[in-house]
Amino acid sequence: MLECIPTRQVEHTTGKINPAKTCQPIGAMYAALGIHRCMPHSHGSQGCCAYHRMGLTRHFREPIVASSSSFTEGASVFGGAANLKTSIKNVFKIYDPDIMAVHTTCLSETIGDDVPTIIKQSEVPEGKVVIHANTPSYVGSHITGFSNMCKAMVAYLAESNGAAKKERVNVLPGFVSPGDMREIKRIVSVLGVDLTMFPDTTNVVDGPLTDKYDMYPEGGATVQEIRDSGNSKLTLALGPWSSDAAGALLQEKCGVPCVPLRVPVGVRATDDFIMALKDGFDVQVPRSLTIERGQVVDTLIDTHFHYQGKKVAVAGDPDLVIPLTDLLLTMGMIPAYVTTGTPGQRFETEIQGMLDQAGVSGSIVKAEGDLFDLHKWVKDNPVDLLIGNTHCKYVARAEDIPLVRFGFPIFDRAVHPLMPVTGYRGCLRLIEQISNTLLDRQDRDCKDEDYELVM
């Protein structure tokens, strides 16, 4: 596999080979699916929309419905206003959503379509809403696209009625699976705090099979809920890349204090999340959560010899990779290579800080990297384990290194969108995956006489 990749040092400074990011619009589309009865709309060629629906459908194995402005060459020359106006009219008439969430593409951005003005000139039926986010594909990544759409939700919808804030927390979950959103909501619920989560893709992209298809499944934050988020007492913005912008705008626009946190992957990030709720709402942490936490610590102590001291390479999205790296350090593992495709110097600073604190030296940490970089690093100096999305499987096979699938996209395994990697339960799942993967490898590779019954 991949015999073409040279072993010698090569110059790779321009463009990406095997990217570790994709473009903004897919993130915006995913965020928009987290609004109840929302039609995500891609303002560009129909290929963009087709590709994003394909990518999300393959990851979630669920219907992903979105519309497109279907640009042709004419629209690309004369501007896409007519296409967007026609789209808005047709979408409300035929598909009847409560809200359309328009995101731009590199095409409409390069032309310079003024989307807010076009929306104002469009026929939007009474009681319906159209929001928009600018998501040119030549800026940021799918993660910043997600962030931009979250910010648009606040910009267009959130309102403060000026009255005393409600005893309720807004949680901006970040670009995570519905399994994670469900777990995060469960933790908030166990703490007895009233919650608005947006976007919320639970019961949207993890729907049941009931013999009845509904174009707009029952999940998602309603427009009303997002409006009322301006009256909540506190916002927890999980993951700086995906959620900080929306949280900060909500604070500025509606006076809701925002606490930026990591996505609760790993023990410490989950602890921080729970403490923020405890402090914010003056609630007692119930014993059930203390038990869950204790189970994680118990497991870490009991199984540390499965993974402690093993070298690991990680690639993924910054909001997940940063807390994951913290968990790996908690497990005593050595993150030798940590990369993300998404830009942001902060990624390198934060991870390097954690590595320094843990006394791990000699690691390579890179933002705006790609999987070719990762492959070369691993080829030069192997690791025991890879953690990353499905695209990493080629590196894994070429270099004969086991892979734990983590992040987005995962095309070659099922069930993952329903299972959390967040919270203490998510910790157990990650520990189990990492441990089992290493043990399976040991079982496969060891001599007959070393094949163990108990491990």
Binding site: E11, G15, P25, M54, S70, T86, Y95, C106, H391
Partner: protein, 534 residues
């Protein structure tokens, strides 16, 4: 099972007037009594209508160019288009006599990753630099550059970059201006890819592969290993496969494409341009084939043998057909018992919706609704209508190449097949040489033909016409499941295959039977819910 005009009308009632007026032209209820039922195709999708269609880039890089295994394909644009077309079409590739493993780049994704400043100041230098680095790193035999939307708008001259890089490195660098907004679907991209490969690659080689019967297979992309199954059978009969366009193909082999006797055309839509242009330039005949289905495969094999009119070849063909059909018969019979009498709804691509009807027929299944995503009228009504198709602003943007006979390599079609002109004329009456009959002729009265089916129509058809299975793409698959209709992707075969040829038919039969009978369909209602009303 017949569908009525009323059912079709009801399906469209919620459309605004303009949409209704447009969509009516893309739907036909087959009635043989009506002499010429025409369908509108290859026209714009209405903005806001949720279509299955992709774009020009997807047709060019994704379908035709991407599978060429020994070229580095650099996507010039922001990251997304390269990312989504990376490995997702399942065009399998492996090393062979002319291409060692070290020259295969199929699993890699190359993109200039244009940033905002590149959009403002232009991306030509970045592209040139990336080419230089890739050449230094991998020493590929050739490189392709495929443009995405913003490239055309900012005016990067990829042809100039390609030309200069080609001179710098002494390898061919092909520039494909396949921006997503061109044309109305993937189809424009097929055409752009065909033109460039025809003009700049085909005919450059000089090595004819040894063998008495040397053939090309065009429009076969080796999804799930389809072309390997075809090669297994064709090689046993005695053919030499010169090149498959473009499944598991190499740049080296494509250069020699003209050094064969006959082009077989599997996917008419994506590759008929090359077949036609090779006929014009080299005189090489092409034969429409369909290797989807046991009977269809046997018929195609017989047709190919007839093209050579060689008794030994015919004998060997019959021997292989007899053995293979006997081998697959018990398996097909086993699954036929499960599938018999069931109905299918197919919407895919530009040929599959037709081809798979034969395989479904092998299983006793009837296709009651069928349509294409990006076909032209000739794919529905047959090539006889080509002269009546009116061009529009979108189709005129894609150049038509008008080729003249090649001075050195042109010979008359019958000479390629080593027969007299009279015999060749006879042959044309028996087998589809330079001809495709289209899908509509094989549909029965009361069945629906639908072009560019959209979400609303698919949902209505699944709900009201209730086919037993739905064969489509990944974007529709899970919608169908939610409605209780088993669905299979016919772009990617749900990650199995091959489905072509004899072994493929058995795989397909097994998968279709399994998807209809998987026990979980019986668990949809919880025991505490009301029993399902039958």
């Amino acid at each position: 099972m017949a569908i009525t005009d009323k059912q079709l009308e009801d399906m469209l009632v919620s459309y605004p007037d303009l949409v209704l007026k447009n969509r009516k032209k893309h739907l036909i209820l087959k009635k043989s009594a009506e002499s010429c039922q025409t369908i509108e195709a290859n026209t714009r999708t209405i903005p806001g209508i949720i279509s299955q269609r992709g774009c020009c880039f997807a047709g060019c890089k994704g379908v035709v160019v991407g599978p060429i295994k020994d070229m580095v394909h650099i996507v010039h644009g922001p990251v997304g288009c390269a990312y989504y077309s990376w490995g997702t079409r399942r065009n399998k590739a492996r090393a062979d006599d002319t291409t060692p493993k070290e020259n295969i780049y199929s699993q890699l994704c190359f993109v200039t990753d244009m940033q905002e400043k590149d959009i403002v100041f232009g991306g030509e230098k970045k592209l040139a630099k990336m080419i230089d680095e890739v050449v230094e790193m991998l020493h590929p035999r050739a490189i392709s550059i495929c443009s995405t939307c913003p490239i055309g708008l900012i005016g990067d001259d990829i042809n100039a970059v390609a030309k200069a890089a080609s001179e710098r490195h002494g390898i061919q660098v092909l520039a494909f201006s396949c921006e997503g907004y061109k044309g109305v679907s993937q189809s424009a991209g097929h055409h752009i890819a065909n033109n460039n490969i025809m003009e700049n690659v085909i005919g450059k080689g000089t090595q004819r592969k040894p063998g008495k019967y040397v053939i090309n297979i065009l429009g076969e992309y080796n999804i799930g290993g389809d072309s390997w199954e075809l090669e297994r059978v064709l090689e046993e009969i005695g053919y030499t496969i010169n090149c498959v366009m473009t499944g598991d193909s190499s740049y080296v082999d494509i250069r020699n494409l003209h050094l064969a006797d006959l082009n077989l055309v599997q996917c008419h839509r994506s590759i008929n341009y090359i077949a036609e242009m090779m006929q014009a330039k080299y005189g090489m005949p092409w034969l429409k084939v369909n290797f989807i289905g046991v009977d269809a495969t046997a018929e195609s094999l017989r047709n190919i043998a007839q093209c050579y009119g060689d008794e030994a070849l015919t004998r060997k063909t019959e021997e292989v057909i007899a053995r293979e059909t006997a081998r697959v018969a018990p398996v097909m019979e086993h699954y036929r018992k499960i599938c018999e009498g069931k109905t299918a709804f197919i919407v895919v691509g530009g040929s599959r919706s037709h081809h798979y009807q034969y395989l479904l027929r092998d299983l006793g299944m009837e296709t009651i609704v069928a349509g294409y995503e990006f076909a032209h009228r000739d794919d529905y009504e047959g090539r006889e209508v080509i002269s009546t198709i009116k061009g529009d602003a979108d189709s005129r943007n894609i150049p038509e190449l008008h080729l003249t006979p090649d001075k050195e390599n042109y010979q008359e079609a019958h000479v390629y097949l080593n027969m007299t002109l009279e015999k060749f004329e006879e042959l044309k009456k028996k087998v589809p040489i330079s001809y495709y009959e289209g899908m509509n002729k094989s549909m029965k009265d009361g069945h629906v033909i639908i072009d560019d089916a959209n979400h609303h129509e698919v949902e209505e058809i699944l709900r009201t016409i209730k086919p037993s299975i739905y064969l489509s793409g990944v974007r529709d698959k899970y919608i169908s499941h939610k409605m209780g209709v088993p669905s299979k992707q016919l772009h990617s075969y749900d990650y199995t295959g091959p489905y072509a040829g004899f072994n493929g038919a058995m795989n397909f039969a097994r998968d279709i039977a399994n998807m209809m009978t998987t026990p979980a369909w019986g668990l949809i209602k919880a025991p505490w819910e009301e029993q399902r009303k039958k």
